[in-house]
C-alpha cells in the first residue's frame, strides 16, 4: 500500500522543476507538508532550497537588499552573487530552466521587474546559522559583506529583531510562554541540563550567556558545547516561527526551511528537534528540511509505517521516547495525517529521486540505503555477517 493513501488531505500542490543550475542537472520536487532532502555534500540541496526561497519571496528579498544598500546594478549575474553568495553567478547558464507549479519562470525577468513588496512567506534557518551568533549576539543584515548568502544575513537580522522581545536582562530559555512545556522539559534535559539561556550585558555590550541554575555565573558562547552553539540559533529560529500568541503561525509565513537540523546534536536532542518540526507542521507550516542524519529518516520511516498500520499518536511518541501527555498525543495524531515527501539528491547524476516510500527492501539502493545515510551501517553488518559465517574460531 502506498504510504500516501492513508494521509489526511494533501497540501496545496507545490512543485518545482530545475534544470542545469549549479550542481543540479535535473530536479523535480513535489512538496508535502514535510519535505526532506538527503544526499551527499554539494549535491544541490541547499541551492534548491535557496532558489525556492527566492521564488517565494522575490519582492521581499529585493526590498531587503535595497534597504541595506546592496546594489547589483541591474545585472542578473551580480544578483546571483549577492543572493546565493560570492561566485554563484557561475551556477546559471543558457541551459538553466525553472518551472514552478507547471509554469516556466523567467528568473532574470522577475529579478529586474518592479513589483510592490510582499510579506515574507518563507523563513529560512540556514546550515551556517552558528555564524549568526559568532560574537555572542546576532548581527544586523548590513554587518555581513556581500559575499555572504542572503539566507544567513536575513536569518541573523531576524534573530536581532527577536532579541528586542526579551528585554536587556531577559531569559530566553526556559520561558513559560515559549514552546510547549513538554518541549521545554525535553530541551532542559537534553540540551541545557542545569542551565538557563539569558541575555546579559558585558561592558555595555549585550550578549547571550548560559547561566548555571545552581551555581550562577555566566558562560559566554565561546565556552558552550558545540551542540549548544549550534542549537541556540536554531531555537531562536523556532521562537520566530512559534509566536507566543493564539495565532499558530507568524503572520504571512507559510514555509519553514531548516537546513541540517541535526548539526552538533546528540541523537536524543535530534529527537526533540524532530518533535518540534512536527509542531511546526501541526501549526500549518510547510516544512522543508535537509539532513545527513539517518535518525531523521528513521523518524520519517516510523511515522509513515505506523500510519500505514493504523497505529496511533502514542506509538509515534514512543519512537521519540516522549511522554504521551494529552498535548503531545494530539500533536502526534495531527502529524500522522500529514503528507511527507523525501528526495535523494544524487551528486553524480545531478538528479533528484523521490524515495518517499523509504522501503528497506527497495531494489534501488538510493531508496533502501536511504540516500546513502544507512549505506555504511548496511555494509558494516554485511562485512561482519560474512566474517562471522566464515570464522573458524
Amino acid at each position: 500500500m502506498s504510504i500516501l493513501t492513508r494521509s489526511g488531505p494533501p497540501p496545496r500542490p507545490q512543485e518545482i522543476k530545475v534544470e542545469n543550475f549549479g550542481p543540479i542537472k535535473h530536479a523535480g520536487i513535489k512538496f508535502g507538508h514535510l519535505t526532506v532532502f538527503v544526499g551527499p555534500q554539494a549535491a544541490g540541496k541547499s541551492v534548491l532550497l535557496q532558489l525556492l526561497k527566492l521564488l517565494s519571496d522575490t519582492s521581499y528579498i529585493k526590498k531587503e537588499f535595497s534597504r541595506a544598500g546592496v546594489d547589483w546594478s541591474g545585472e542578473f549575474a551580480s544578483f546571483l552573487d549577492v543572493y546565493f553568495g560570492e561566485g554563484m553567478r557561475s551556477a546559471w547558464s543558457d541551459k538553466t530552466s525553472i518551472e514552478q507549479n507547471g509554469a516556466r519562470i523567467d528568473l532574470p525577468g522577475r529579478i529586474s521587474e518592479k513589483r510592490p513588496s510582499r510579506r515574507e512567506s518563507m523563513f529560512f534557518i540556514p546550515a551556517q546559522r552558528v555564524l549568526a551568533l559568532r560574537d555572542g549576539w546576532p548581527s544586523a543584515f548590513n554587518y555581513y559583506d556581500a559575499s555572504i548568502p542572503f539566507t544567513l544575513r536575513e536569518f541573523s537580522e531576524h534573530l536581532r529583531l527577536l532579541m528586542s522581545d526579551f528585554g536587556s536582562e531577559g531569559t530566553l530559555f526556559p520561558v513559560p510562554r515559549r514552546l510547549k512545556s513538554e518541549f521545554r522539559e525535553l530541551l532542559q534535559s537534553h540540551i541545557f541540563p542545569g542551565f538557563r539561556l539569558k541575555i546579559d550585558t558585558q561592558r555595555a555590550q549585550k550578549r547571550l550567556v548560559l547561566t548555571s541554575i545552581e551555581q550562577g555565573g555566566s558562560l559566554p558562547v565561546a565556552v558552550w558545547s558545540a551542540g549548544q552553539r549550534e542549537f541556540v540559533p536554531l531555537l531562536l529560529g523556532l521562537y520566530w516561527l512559534m509566536v507566543p500568541a493564539k495565532a499558530p503561525r507568524r503572520a504571512g509565513l507559510e514555509w519553514a526551511v531548516i537546513e541540517e537540523l541535526e548539526m552538533g546534536l546528540h541523537p536524543r536532542a535530534i529527537s526533540v528537534v524532530m518533535l518540534m518540526v512536527f509542531e511546526l507542521m501541526a501549526r500549518g507550516y510547510r516544512v522543508c528540511i535537509s539532513t545527513h542524519s539517518p535518525q531523521v529518516l528513521d523518524a520519517v520511516w516510523a511515522l509513515q509505517r505506523l500510519r500505514e498500520h493504523g497505529a496511533g499518536g502514542t506509538d509515534l511518541l514512543r519512537v521519540f521516547d516522549a511522554e504521551p501527555t494529552t498535548a503531545m498525543v494530539k500533536l502526534a495524531e495531527n502529524v500522522m495525517k500529514k503528507w511527507v515527501r523525501v528526495y535523494y539528491f544524487d551528486r553524480e547524476g545531478g538528479t533528484t529521486r523521490d524515495i518517499t516510500n523509504l522501503d528497506p527492501n527497495a531494489e534501488e539502493a538510493g531508496e533502501s540505503g536511504w540516500g546513502g545515510l544507512s549505506e555504511f551501517s548496511g555494509r558494516a553488518s554485511e562485512a561482519v555477517a560474512k566474517a562471522v559465517a566464515n570464522s573458524r574460531q
Partner: protein
Amino acid sequence: MGFREEVEATPNLQGKWTAGLGALRAQDKARIKPENTSAKHLRGSVDIDSAWQQVEPQANRWDFAVGYKHVNRSDEFVYWVETHTGSDEQIKVMFRKLDWLKNWLKNAGKRLANFDRSFVWVPGGATSFTKGSTQVRSLAEKGLLYSGSTFRIPVTHEISKP
C-alpha cells in the same frame, strides 16, 4: 571436489543436486538473482529442507544451498539461503534454524563446511527492518546476512577471504 560432488557425497543429499537454482521454489527463485547464471559461475543448488524432512521432521531445518564460482576466488563459494518472513518475532526462529544448520555442517553436512560461505536470510513479503537497525546488527553478530527483498550474487566476491 566441487560443490556438486560434495552435495552428492553428503548423507540424504544424493541425487538432490540440481542445476542452476532448480532446487528453489518458484517464488524463492525470484528473490535470488545471480549476476551471471551460466554453469561456469552458478554451480547448482540443493534443497536441504526437503531432503532432511524425513530425518528431522520437528527441527527448524535450513532451506537451500547455492554454489557459486566467483571470478576472483579460486574455490567455489556456498550461499546458505533461507527465505523466511522478515519480522522481529521471526528472529528467534531464524537463530534456531541457523543453529541447526551450523550443527548440521559440523556433522552430516561437514563436507560442505569446507567451502567459504554466507548465511543469508532473504525476507518474504514486507519487512520491518532497516539496514542500519539493531536487528540487522544482531543478526550479523551471529553470522547471518539480512539481504532485503532481493539477494544479488555478484560475479566478483566483495569480501576478501578471511
